[in-house]
Symmetry: C2
Subunit: 691 residues, 2 copies
């Protein structure tokens, strides 16, 4: 808008006020002020008047410009919708690479887009391969025992754990965009699958059905993850806030550890339940089953593992200590049990494991029958959980090495990997925190480390299975406990308490929910709390009284800035939230209360009578029809009490809606300003101008 126009608008206003034209007579055109400027000419002749007035004002205050509030550029509903949708689904503008490229170039880019391996493959060299081999073998030594353990955690035969460490990593290495993710079964997803399926079917009673459900759940998990990625609904997992996850993981870790008491104390008749109380009671009701040899050796190895873990945490350079420990302890314990097998009957061992590669399992998928819903539910919950873990891990290491991972692409990769897994006797897999950390420290450079790991698992599956026959269950228990103990992050919880009480509440809800109610319900409660928090903020927004910082155009909260001071006969209120149906009633009441209190204050300190209320709308980032009604209502009420209502700096969408709903017209020219300062300056000047 030209300087001229500014001036002339000012002129126009001065005149209208000096000629005492009631605003309402001229308001019909007001809203257009922003958009078209042809009305400007009508008044430009009054330029001279303007000068006169502003000079006559000059004595009292420096002359000033008034900037009119613009409407945002006009857009059709379709354009708006298009913009909105692109913001919702393509915030990262994934196609920007493709802009103005030749078609063959585009083809290559597309290939790289869908198969990241084509992106880094060409530049791959022997040097990178060397470090990938090292890291690959390291995580393999971790993945094999953990795979077996986590399978048992999901009540599945140990071999499934190894199968799951073979196919999925291979697929991920082709589709995945993270360089450090070490793919395989993870504790939490395994636990959840075990608990949710266990409630419906017990493995001991009907192993085939249980296996069917496990694979089906895995399939659904994959399908869910892939479709989230495909439909670009990735933000759904954002609703598992960090606070929630801290609580959830701690709770899960406790539950997992409790489950290990079975293998750890050598209890035979153990509860199928997951919650804290039944588990503990069943532990102490079967004291007679505790076998002291198991306990002693178990604790021995647990201490050993914890020490190695501690060392590696202290000196990241010594990552290999904790990385090698599990396999070492498996070998040692297996040898030991093998030697004393004649006399050690109390010690339960894994037993026979079949040699050979993943058998196909697509024929075992279970798509109709009474348990379909169970499989579906389990699939979705484990899907969300594994996705969250995978994405989080990917992002963490990406930000450490300063490269980007595309959330939605990751989801598709993990999803497809699980769908393929479900057809090759694998259960839910994703990128695991612990193994990825080891992978990173071991200097992994690309997804090739996953291929190396897979090959190591392949060799194991083909030739080394018999060696695990005498591996005792307590060692698996010890390995699991060492793995999950790191999930209990009490420091972060403490930090939450310090910084944000409501986040801490969400955290505690998920922790105790998981511990005492059930894993999915605990999660649901926590998500509910997080959402409730958002709603609460909207339902009861903050309102501030602003004051001017002397000698500046700055207006700030009175009770926060000691140098800010009231502007006499003005009440300047800032509303710190969008105005919605959920808070419009509250805001109306609150604002009226502010006015009441201000008037009481004025009476007490006999200051100038209140004449004008300025609403600073800067932070009102959106408004809906209820909000608009509220503004209209407020204006009516204040008019009855002969108080002027003025809006300062409303954001684009808000002005637009106020305009469309014809509320602006009722405000008239002196009802809308770009800044609080201009509002105060202009209005007080009009007061002066009037007799």
């Amino acid at each position: 808008m030209s300087f001229l126009q500014k001036k002339t608008k000012k002129t126009f206003k001065k005149i209208s006020s000096s000629l005492l034209i009631a605003p309402l007579q001229i308001t019909k055109d007001t809203p257009e002020m922003g958009v078209n400027s042809n009305r400007v000419e009508d008044y430009s002749s009054h330029e001279s008047t303007m000068i006169r007035i502003s000079t006559e004002l000059a004595a009292s205050q420096p002359p000033f410009e008034i900037h009119s509030v613009c409407l945002p550029p006009k857009k059709t509903t379709l354009q708006k919708l298009k913009h909105r949708l692109s913001e919702i689904f393509f915030p990262d503008d994934p196609l920007h690479r493709f802009k103005n490229q030749r078609w063959c170039q585009k083809l290559v880019l597309a290939l790289q887009f869908f198969f990241p391996i084509f992106h880094w493959g060409p530049d791959y060299n022997l040097k990178l391969f060397r470090s990938d081999i090292i890291s690959g073998l390291t995580i393999a030594s971790l993945a094999i025992p953990q795979g077996i353990s986590y399978a048992k955690l999901a009540n599945l035969p140990p071999i499934i754990g190894l199968y799951s460490s073979f196919v999925p990593p291979l697929i991920y290495s082709v589709l995945g965009s993270s360089r450090h993710l070490a793919v395989g079964p993870v504790s939490i997803a395994s636990l959840v699958m075990g608990s949710m399926l266990g409630e419906a079917v017990s493995y001991s009673q009907d192993p085939t059905l249980y296996l069917q459900l496990a694979f089906t759940a895995t399939f659904f998990a994959g399908l869910f993850q892939a479709s989230l990625g495909l439909l670009r609904l990735g933000f759904i997992i954002d609703f598992l806030s960090k606070a929630t996850l801290i609580g959830f993981m701690a709770g899960a870790a406790v539950i997992v550890s409790l489950q290990q008491l079975k293998g750890f104390l050598g209890i035979v008749h153990f509860t199928g339940k997951m919650q804290m109380i039944p588990v503990l009671s069943s532990v102490f009701n079967h004291k007679e089953e505790w076998s002291w040899q198991t306990v002693v050796m178990g604790f021995g190895f647990l201490v050993f593992l914890l020490i190695t873990r501690h060392i590696s945490m202290r000196k990241p350079k010594l990552f290999w200590v904790s990385a090698a420990a599990p396999l070492t302890s498996v070998i040692l314990s297996t040898l030991f049990v093998f030697c004393i097998k004649s006399k050690a009957h109390g010690i339960s061992v894994i037993g026979h494991l079949p040699k050979g590669l993943n058998p196909p399992s697509s024929n075992m998928l279970y798509f109709n029958g009474p348990f379909l819903m169970v499989a579906l539910k389990t699939g979705i919950v484990t899907g969300i959980l594994s996705l969250t873990e995978g994405i989080a891990v990917g992002r963490t290491f990406a930000s450490l090495k300063n490269y980007q991972v595309d959330g939605n692409k990751e989801m598709m990769a993990i999803g497809l990997m699980n769908m393929a897994g479900s057809c090759t006797s694998c259960f839910v897999t994703t990128g695991s925190f612990s193994r990825s950390a080891v992978n990173y420290n071991a200097g992994a450079k690309s997804a090739v480390s996953n291929i190396v790991m897979a090959s190591a698992v392949l060799v194991t599956l083909l030739f080394l299975m018999p060696l695990f026959h005498y591996t005792p269950n307590f060692i698996l228990a010890a390995i699991i406990i060492t793995a999950v103990i790191g999930l209990i992050d009490y420091q972060s919880a403490l930090q939450l308490w310090k910084v944000d009480k409501l986040d801490f509440l969400a955290c505690m809800c998920s922790f105790f929910g998981v511990l005492f109610i059930s894993v999915p319900l605990g999660l649901a409660i926590a998500v509910g709390v997080s959402v409730f928090k958002i709603l609460l903020h909207v339902t009861r927004p903050n309102t501030l009284v602003l004051g001017n910082i002397a000698g500046t155009p700055i207006y700030q909260s009175l009770n926060r800035y000691r140098e800010a001071s009231r502007v006499s006969s003005f009440l300047i209120l800032a509303v710190e939230a969008p105005i919605y149906f959920a808070n419009s009633t509250y805001l109306l009441e609150r604002i009226l209360r502010w006015i009441r209190e201000e008037e009481e204050w004025i009476k007490a300190n006999n200051g100038n009578t209140l004449k004008c209320i300025i609403l600073d709308m800067t932070a009102v980032t959106a408004i809906d029809t209820s909000g608009i009604d509220m503004v209209r209502e407020l204006r009516k009420i204040l008019e009855k009490r002969s108080l002027q209502l003025v809006l300062a700096n409303p954001v684009g969408s808000v002005v637009e809606k106020l305009h469309q709903s014809k509320v602006l017209e009722s405000f008239g020219l002196n009802g809308l300003y770009l800044t609080v300062e201009e509002a105060v300056a202009d209005i007080s000047s009009t007061w002066k101008a009037q007799p």
Copy 2:
């Protein structure tokens, strides 16, 4: 904060920059800048330097002050909690009247607070009484036929409708704070009760049980309403946004009208269902049952009623035309049917109604048994609906006559009224739109008009019941249709479409939900949509690039204000939402994209290289731990790309949290500014100062 301090802070900053002290060395104290000012003295000796520097800058730009960002005044967790709770539950500060009053005064006030009748009673006089009598009798003439009709709508015996127009109004007149609310049964609540109870029990098969459930539901509705008021959870009903209600009421009106086809066509075998399709199909499957006499007379009276309604809408002065019409048509039709009763067998009539007052029904409340949940659910849904209507009506007329109704008090009044009603053979009642409007137009001055109405009903109950024996059902149908037709507000729906598409969506969802699925489900869907809208706004907030309006301290959106222009080597972004777990990932991606696009733009127009990103935090009204991590993360990423990140004007709670979480320290002195302008000025000056 003193002017001195401002200057000296500036000095301090100049020095630190000119002596090239890395910010991090001095940041440890930064956050305190706002709160304690003892550190100021340490640097005040440098005053002279300050002058030198600012004069040396004067050539390039006018000297300027930098205001440090304050922390909000320190508060303990308990104080914060107290403040927060009082904001949530006592936004209107209901006890402010009681402040500094003598105890006897307080007692009176308390009495007036709980029983508004003591508030207006003393000033009540004969003049007011006269107008109340007129209005009271007018609404009575409307209430009697409507009461009978709505009772039939809820599948209850007609007499219950009259009972419900007797006791509740009396109680409300003592407890209620609205002067124009006309209390009694209302169409929507009656419909919902009929439909929800009808699904469980049919009146025709087990009338006693059905009555029991109806009274119990009424009791629960009252209990729910009263406790909402008592716990000051009134904001829960705010979640039924206006948009939702428009759609819901229209849907309900259609359903109600369809239900009337039974009485209207004289169909005997009518479906018990409520949805559109089953009703229509049952209408056309029983063509043989249609009785032409009923149809003819029914339509005759319907046209008559609609015409009177139209007249009164055109000329509010003629309100009595539509007010008197129902009773008139009842009398006329009754007489007519009475005269031709010998030959008119096709016409169904109300039949015998017992004389006498409300029998006590507390013994019929049903607190254990298979149907308890049905009663509870019905109670809560009807409770919410009737509450919403009552409060809305109360507020509307209060704002017309410019007095306040206290939402929470109204809830308690309506709740207690329903609880009392449930013990005196009444079903759910509240303030009705139509009757209150008539009451208002008839010049009601106080709740006494309700007492007058109740007395009129009393007389009817005691002496006039036999007269209704031959009242035909089609007239009740006609009355109901005339009453509900006004609920279809297509203009508002159109306005919604014009102003806010998402609100329109919510409106449509509730409309079609009610029409085709079921009343409570339709409502639930609509509320879901409204809440989803809030979440969507938070999950995908707006981000704007700001530019400076030449010659002013104003920074505004570049694509909205043509006169705003980029500040070279700065990128100024405004985030228009609180930063939460739900949007932190999105915002990070989006901001990085803005930076990428800016750099591309610069490359294209070979402008100055981008050096500094300013985040205008004015509209970031809250932040949680995930948000804090996002800021930290963003800073890290930008640092790696040697870009400076600066925050401008963060609100109190945000600064506080950033401070508590030690993020501010990493920003250092030059990382936090009160306004964008000061940030730009100061940073560019430091660039100049540096070699």
